[in-house]
Symmetry: C2
Subunit: 454 residues, 2 copies
């Protein structure tokens, strides 16, 4: 930045060459100043980084536990190599156990299980197929063998790679397919030179199983992090956040104590936003949770996919909340005199009731999930809110002129919101065009002359 | 499913044990029937799978090209192993080249570059540190060496694993950190038994570089798939979809030919939905695009992050469209007599104008990005839409009573939408409670008795 700035200055300034001595002196002084500030800057950066690391660790202490667990698993598996009697059994293949631990160890039990099983089974299957391919290629003589092996590798690798584009395989067995290609290629290629192929394949498989077992023992028995439990907690947290928004609406917008102060910075208007971005976390957690055995409160076939359905609805709800929040903020900015106090009060009360009943229902649902008890029937809790909503609709539809005007006006308001966003989009594209040096279609010589004259 | 169903039937039906012989006969007949249908079913499944594979390939033929490229790169690299003079230079380490090709080869050039560079640099750095660690441990005698090596592996693996929780490292160097841990552990552990450590590290690094280079040549020179180009196309496609929605709104809802037929199935009301889910693709493409060298129309430092900003705005726009679409559909279902035809017509015309101007602006922006030319100034294209929007607001604010009523009514309408979604959430939680066998807190013995009596 600094350099860029200096270049621009000297480009536009004719004096730079004239006052050379003075500039040279100031450059020297500036350099010295910068040099002196280096240790301070460095210290600030290190301190900032340390604070960041501390914050990440405090946010979720399980992260520290996970890091130590990876270290532990690796040290455990390297004991295999250090202890001579164990080493003699497996030879250099022991290194595959170390490799397996590094790539299989994941944060959650489900993640480790999914990767470990994928790796073990893919190795087994690919090993068998590769040994078969070797037997076939072996019968074609010394010249034909490498060619045939090459063709096999090409065909299987291409087919397996293509299978990764099938969504079902991608979701659950992506890692397995990679390991399948890997093992098949390694065994098929090395079968050309290695004599005791079966022994090699056997050793490789055993060491991989040892690696996977080490990972599993460490993840399951030392401070386990269950993906299912996290998914369960995420669901209750999301419901609570939605409830918090509605409670905020009730007290700040519709309640008796509703103030007319600026709503924009209020925390309850931000709380639903993290729900909107929860899809990726939720999908990966539910994918891993399906691999986990029963644990704690969760049985083996716990209906994890239901959590995804619930999450999708929560996000839809948060979407509607966003529309409502932006509307309420705009509304607040434009203060109008109370033109129809009676109707306003009526609707306001109705809105307050809807909010509080809905918030209560959400809190109940969240508690039900948290304690894993059957929630009170939705009809009881929500019926009050539904009744108010219906009453309000009827009330509004009595005044047909108002309703009609309202409908078109709402559409118009929503559309003019869209116009505002599209103006922002246009600005971003302008920015992109400037940064990416898009060419200018209209700027011919003539235009430039006009530009200068005007 | 079938089995589950049968068990339920026999549970609830007292006759199953009584009519044993008949049931046995029918089971035999059923088994025979099922056995006979097996080939047909199998054929149907295979045909269905083949159709699916064909569809995936036709959707994007580059997928087939990618699969063949992976096969090609693997075959190329295995030539290293088959050709004796080349093999003698590297020995068994050649297998690392095969391994590298399998794990580094990605769909896009940027993905391959990012993984390849991460792998090569992480191997180099970890190799140096591991050799240093070996030198230190070596001085502690035969007994101390494995213990010290174990401590080194534990500390470095833990620290490196923790660094993966730092978002900046996670985004760009996640794979590099994994390979760092891997190489350090492998070299440190094997340093205990291998004599020529430097040679081993050197061989490993060279073969990895060969693997990475093979991948890069194949991805860059054979039908390259550039992440940047895909990101660029995604941006224009998203803008076009938003425009399509607004054009549909104009012609179907506000235009002269606007019909009152059911809007719900119209394609233009679905078109924005894919924009809503584009975040994950966009993030990964832009992450990869930053690794790519200049190519075609894109310079080396093309501002890829601007595309992410644009994408975020497009999703916000699609969000507002969802609110509008759901409102328009509900509105359409409830037909009211024209109570205030003059105002309605006025607003309707204004809405039509806003839609068509906005759609035109979006199409212009999309074309500008596609052709990489500076878009016509947003002020010109959008000013008409902004003017209409302002005029409409002024028009509405003249009738204060209407405006006031409208504002509260809109809030109420949005809230009652929320109520509808929350009822759905409650149903989903009920479903979850049923599937996951949540315990019933109120069902004591007494309650059950009452339940039966009532």
């Amino acid at each position: 930045m600094e350099v860029d700035h200096q270049i621009r200055v000297s480009d536009g300034n004719g004096e730079t060459t004239a006052g050379h001595g003075a500039v040279g002196g100031s450059i020297f002084a500036r350099c010295w100043q910068r040099l002196r500030s280096v240790p301070v800057e460095l210290w600030c950066r290190v301190a900032g980084f340390a604070r960041k690391v501390g914050r990440i660790a405090r946010e979720d202490p399980r992260r520290v536990a996970h890091s130590l667990k990876v270290g532990l698993a690796l040290t455990l598996v390297s004991v295999l190599y250090y202890v001579t009697p164990l080493f003699k059994g497996f030879g250099v293949s022991t290194l595959w156990a170390v490799l397996t631990v590094v790539v299989v160890m994941e944060y959650t039990v489900g993640g480790t299980l999914s990767k470990g099983l994928n790796r073990a089974f893919a190795t087994l299957v690919a090993g068998f197929i590769a040994v078969g391919a070797h037997q076939i290629a072996n019968r074609c003589g010394a010249q034909g063998e490498p060619i045939l092996l090459g063709i096999f590798v090409f065909l299987l690798a291409s087919a397996a790679t293509f299978s990764r584009f099938i969504p079902e395989i991608k979701a659950k067995y992506d890692y397995g397919v990679t390991i399948f290609i890997l093992t098949f290629s390694l065994v098929a290629v090395s079968s050309y030179r290695v004599e005791e192929l079966i022994q090699l394949a056997h050793q490789r498989f055993s060491t991989i199983v040892i690696g996977v077992l080490t990972c599993l023992c460490t993840t399951i028995f030392v401070f386990p992090v269950w993906a299912g439990e996290d998914l369960h907690k995420l669901a209750t947290a999301n419901l609570d956040k939605l409830a918090q928004f509605l409670e905020g609406m009730e007290s700040e917008c519709f309640g008796e104590k509703a103030t007319s102060e600026n709503l924009e910075g209020k925390p309850f208007l931000q709380v639903y936003k993290s729900v909107l971005n929860s899809k990726a976390t939720e999908d990966s957690l539910s994918n891993f949770a399906k691999w986990e055995p029963g644990h704690g409160k969760f049985g083996f076939r716990h209906p994890w996919s239901q959590y995804q359905k619930l999450g999708a609805l929560c996000r839809q709800c948060a979407n509607s909340m966003e529309a409502l929040a932006s509307y309420v903020i705009t509304l607040q900015k434009s203060q109008y005199p109370e033109a129809n106090p009676e109707l306003t009060l009526k609707i306001r009360t109705a809105c307050g009731e809807m909010s509080s009943h809905s918030a209560k229902a959400l809190r109940e649902l969240s508690t039900a999930i948290q304690t894993m008890t059957v929630p009170p029937p939705a009809s009881i809790t929500m019926s009050a809110a539904i009744k108010v909503a219906k009453g309000l609709r009827n009330e509004l539809s009595e005044d047909e002129a108002l309703l009609q005007a309202m409908h078109v006006a709402v559409t118009a308001t929503l559309l003019s919101d869209l116009v505002t966003i599209i103006v922002k989009i246009a600005e971003t594209v302008d920015n992109l065009a400037w940064h990416a040096h898009f060419k200018n279609p209209e700027k011919t010589q003539k235009d430039i002359v006009i530009d200068i004259q005007s």
